[in-house]
Amino acid sequence: MRIPILKLHEYLLITIQVELDDQTALQFQEDLLNKIHDTGAKGVVIDLTSVDMIDSFIAKVLGDVVRMSKLMGAQVVLTGIQPAVAITLIDLGISMREVPTALDLEQGLDKLQLELEG
């Protein structure tokens, strides 16, 4: 299974709408980095509105892809983390402190714009 990555001007938009298995998550990591490379995108929004569970493995894959993208020069924002998911992540002991987040897609794009301009 491949997660579609959409290009919008200098941004890439991803909305994860499938139940993430390990392979899909790792494939997505690779696909996103390749897409950043091919398009020269400056910013990425990964929307998690439809994701109802993030375990430690998926959290690690997401945290890693944010850092990997940063190495390449692209800023990633995670958006739409559900209340139940936020509670579960903190229970698990995962704070994703260094990962930029925003409430929704709109605020995520605003955040990227601010960071890329400033």
Partner: protein, 133 residues
């Protein structure tokens, strides 16, 4: 609905099946959104541990009732190498697989009751229960 449902865990896709079963049972038993996420996440962590460290095993789920309380119990069993130092694996951040080391201590926090029983060279059994509030 007193019957145990089990999922054999031998590959990465079985992890997804196990947590889908957990989500459905938690929903049927009347758990709220947040507890459903807690239960599903706990199952995912336990199933991944089986896959990573034991190779294969199973996750069983059963509705439980005790002193008028209803709940859901996760039973994670494998015949793997066992855990040498249980105290160590219950420490936050301890990992031998390059993960976040959040698994077992995380599961303990996500659930209400947690017991672990492990014998070297014969396997591990973990029981974790969440009660309906």
């Amino acid at each position: 609905m007193d019957i145990q449902s089990c999922v054999e865990v031998c590959n990465e896709w079985d992890i997804v099946s196990a947590r889908q079963l957990g989500r459905n049972m938690a929903k049927e038993l009347g758990f709220g959104n947040v507890d459903q996420a807690r239960i599903t996440t706990a199952i995912s962590e336990l199933a991944r541990n089986i896959y990573l460290y034991a190779g294969s095993g199973k996750i069983c789920l059963e509705p439980v009732e005790q002193m008028g309380r209803k709940g859901l119990r996760i039973i994670a069993v494998d015949n793997g190498p066992g855990i040498r130092d249980i105290r160590k694996v219950m420490e936050d951040g301890y990992t031998t697989s390059g993960g976040l080391g959040a698994g077992l201590p995380g599961v303990k926090r996500l659930m209400d009751e947690f017991t672990i029983d492990s014998t070297i060279d014969s396997g591990t059994e973990i029981l974790a229960t969440k009660w309906l509030r």
